[in-house]
Assembly symmetry: C2
Homo-oligomer: 108 residues x 2
């Protein structure tokens, strides 16, 4: 049940939507998401792979997990993070296509 019609999203939904985009809007955080979207990966592996401090990665991961963009799973000392669901990778792909096609004329 949407509020009125397709894109007339109600205010709380807009706030939530904006929050999700906002989280993906930081380059460092986006890199972390991209590192998680392929396969589950530990915090320390993200940090070393992206050349970031573990502290910084944890801070971002907390926000991403709170917004349910990523999910966590403990295995011994390490905690593995992965993309929460398929919508995330879908959004990422659509945006990459948008970048790839500067000015196309095959809409409709």
């Amino acid at each position: 049940m949407s509020c009125q019609h397709d894109y007339s999203v109600c205010d709380p939904a807009i706030a939530q939507l904006a929050d999700l985009f906002h989280l993906l809007g930081d380059p460092t955080r986006l890199r972390i998401v991209l590192a998680c979207v392929t396969a589950p990966i530990a915090v320390s592996d993200i940090a070393s792979s992206l050349e970031l401090s573990s502290s910084l990665v944890s801070h971002h991961l907390r926000l991403l997990r709170a917004a349910r963009i990523v999910k966590s799973e403990r295995q011994g000392k390490q905690v593995f993070y992965s993309a929460a669901d398929a919508h995330i990778s879908g959004v990422l792909n659509d945006m990459l296509e948008h970048i790839a096609e500067p000015s196309n004329g095959h809409e409709a």
Copy 2:
């Protein structure tokens, strides 16, 4: 040619990707985009519809147009803005689905 594999996007692409998400990450700007995505709409109509100042709408519209999220078309005194391409609405839809489904287990 991507840099390595699917989600190992090269750095300039990440910056561009993050920039797009960042623009959608502000609630006011997101509302403006949503107002444009349905049909072309004039700046003053966006402003009155969303109860914002024309100045503020113009500021946001400039950023959105620079990132090619929206495109502009002049008609007399007014300038009509609309979504740049189908990828934008696609991203919006995917994110809305992500919000709609809190915790689904039907992936793969």
